[in-house]
Structure formats: structure tokens, C-alpha cells
Symmetry: C2
Subunit: 220 residues, 2 copies
């Protein structure tokens, strides 16, 4: 299986500060994203679209498995490593429960998009094995195109959808930021990974988010 062949080199087992936190956070984020996307798929207007969101969810659980395997190699218990992040992530999802199909897709596209950018930034400062793992599991895949196309078409067809989804996206970002601040406060090692370029990081995240919004016709 090709997934096995690309698993991290177990010889590089020195655990850098913050890596445990990054992997635990990301593992639980993927597990919960699976759970929420699988549930959100019920909002789909037809069986084809429903199946596509189920398949997006399945990618997340495959990612979870890769991170859990890496934690195992590092001698860490995945459940224990994820535990400190359960509350923040559950709260994010409970505050952003979609009520229809377009909200669900916007959450997958905008919410996961900004979270992934953040994980990518953090990963940039860890060793190559874990950096490659994190970059590999982040969702630059065909499903993003599906979400983007669906939202863009809905927004083009109905200006009211644009304003409603723009507000929804602002709420997603607000909730994500508020939980990110909380995680940062509780996990100093993660913040260390970000170095002292905090302001520039924030600018980059904002820029990429704005690009995503514009790509589907939403107002930032």
C-alpha cells in the first residue's frame, strides 16, 4: 500500500517541543472533522452530493490514522495526546453547526481552509518527518474543488445566498479564532513553534482567507 511506503522514518524519533501538541491537536481535529462532515452529509440535497461529502469525511479519518500511527511510533498514546484539545474543538463545532447544505460546504471550505493554513504555518518550524506528515494530511485535494464549485454556483444564482453565506463565513472565522486563542493560551509550546512572526502570520492567514472568500463570490 502506497500510504505505508510514505510513512515517516521511525529513526527520527527525537520529540521537539510543541510537536506532541501539534500532532495531538491535528489528530483530534481530523477525527472530529470526520464526525461532523459525516453528519453534515445528511443535509445534502441528493444522494450524489451526499456521497461526495461522505467521501470528504473519509479522507479525514485516513489522515487521522496516519497521525495516530506517527504518535504510536513516537511512543505516545493518541488518546492522551488528543485529550487536551477536545474541549476547544468540540466547542468550535458546536458553535458552528450548519443548518443547511451550503452552510455545511462553506464550513468545509472556509473553516477547514483557515485551520489548514494555520497548521501549515506551525508545521513549517518542526522537523522534516513531522512537517511532511502534516503537509501531507492537509486537504489540498479534489474535494475542495467540489465545495468551491457548489458555493460559487449557489452564490451566482442567488445574491441573497452570497450575503447569508458571507455572514456565516465571518462567524466561522470568529469562532475559529476564539478557540485558537484559547488553545494558544493553554499550550505555550505550540506558540513557541510560531516564533516571533505572529503579526506576519496573522496577515498571511487573513490574505489567504480573503482569497478563498473572493474565489466563491463571498464578501470578506
Amino acid at each position: 500500500m502506497s500510504r505505508r511506503a510514505t510513512l515517516p522514518d521511525v529513526s527520527q524519533n527525537t520529540l521537539e517541543p510543541g510537536v506532541r501538541d501539534l500532532l495531538g491537536l491535528l489528530a483530534y481535529a481530523q477525527l472530529l472533522a470526520f464526525d461532523r462532515m459525516a453528519a453534515d452529509a445528511r443535509l445534502a440535497p441528493d444522494l450524489h452530493r451526499r456521497a461526495v461529502l461522505c467521501e470528504m469525511a473519509a479522507v479525514e479519518i485516513g489522515n487521522y490514522r496516519q497521525i495516530a500511527d506517527r504518535l504510536g511510533e513516537l511512543g505516545l498514546d493518541p488518546a492522551g495526546t488528543m485529550a487536551p484539545f477536545v474541549e476547544a474543538l468540540v466547542e468550535y463545532h458546536e458553535a458552528t453547526e450548519p443548518t443547511d447544505w451550503l452552510e455545511a460546504l462553506t464550513k468545509a471550505y472556509i473553516g477547514d481552509g483557515i485551520a489548514d493554513d494555520f497548521y501549515r504555518e506551525v508545521a513549517a518550524s518542526v522537523g522534516p518527518v513531522d512537517r511532511d506528515l502534516v503537509l501531507r494530511v492537509l486537504h489540498a485535494n479534489a474535494y475542495d474543488d467540489f465545495a468551491r464549485d457548489e458555493i460559487r454556483a449557489a452564490v451566482a444564482a442567488d445574491p441573497k445566498a452570497a450575503s447569508r453565506l458571507s455572514m456565516w463565513a465571518r462567524r466561522l472565522v470568529g469562532e475559529a479564532l476564539s478557540q485558537a486563542v484559547r488553545v494558544a493560551e493553554e499550550h505555550a509550546d505550540l506558540v513557541v513553534l510560531l516564533g516571533d512572526g505572529g503579526a506576519e502570520l496573522f496577515d498571511r492567514l487573513k490574505q489567504a482567507h480573503g482569497d478563498r472568500m473572493a474565489a466563491v463570490g463571498l464578501n470578506n
Copy 2:
């Protein structure tokens, strides 16, 4: 990707009677099994077990994709092919919603086990391309061992669990049979695939079910 490489040979596209029904039924069964297992995973007592049930669910959606691809090759619309089976399968799942982790696992092990045996029997009389596809997607995988080990351990530790889960398994089989009868009544082409060995088929299903029950210490 290896999955691609083993996809059915598109040159064998002659559609036998009943094959459309078999593939539609199985596709929707997998899509719904994904949905229900993903939801049932919330009943898990810990994050490790939860992740395993999520991974079992992800296998189902991978199977769905293989069947949907085959329907596409045959020039059939997956959604339209599944539609006639939605009601029966939804009713089965609504009548058998697990209330705890052991009920969820027993449903995956006993309920899916008897359904898989049935699909295997039907598949035996279709052409090689679709027969191989059906056999490939049926869940003879490592996750069955997980469910079996969990149920066996719970039953060994607590005789009350044995009697409660035995009753639950009887309910699962009763609901499955009642929906199977309904599907058979509504889809004569599927019944044709079974030939005239109905009584022997029923005996084989009963025997295999009894073996599964005995393997985990439940009373048939």
C-alpha cells in the same frame, strides 16, 4: 492507485436482469452503513475505539465509490439506481438504532454479517465482473475481528451483557428479514437471481449467523 487497477473490465457491459437492482441495493446499503456507523462511533467509550469505528465506516464509503463507478460504467445513474431501496434500508436502520457501544458493535458484526452473506449468495449468480466487485466490497476485513473481540470480552465479563445482546441480535435479524422480504416482494428480478434454492439459501444464512453468534458467546 491500486483500487483503480482492480476496477471491473468495462468491456463486459451487458446488463443481466437483477444486476442493476443488486448494485443499487448494495450501493445504498454501503452509503447508509457509512452514515450510521459514523454516528454510532459517538457511542464509543474512548477515543481509540471511536476512531476504529470511524475507520470501519470509511471502508463502507470506499466500497460505495467502487459500486457507483461501476454503475457509471454501465451507463446507470447511481442515485436513480439506489432510490428504490432507500425506504427499506432507512427503516431497517431506524428500527435498530443502537443505544450504546456494544449494541453498535453487535449491529456491525451480526447485522452486517447476515446482510453480507445474503449479498454474497445473490452475487454468486451474476456475471464475473459484478460478482467479483460485490465479493470485493463485502467486509471480510480486520475490523470484523475488532468487533468480535470487543463483544466477546464484554460477554465474558458480564453474563447480563450476553442475554441483553442476544436479544438485541434477534431483533436485528428480525428487522433485517422483514425488510428483506419487502425488497424481494418489490424486486422480482433480484429474487430470480436466487434461483429455486430458496430453502437451502435460508438454511445457509441461518447456519452462518449461528456460527457468528456462537463465536462471541451469544445465544441464538
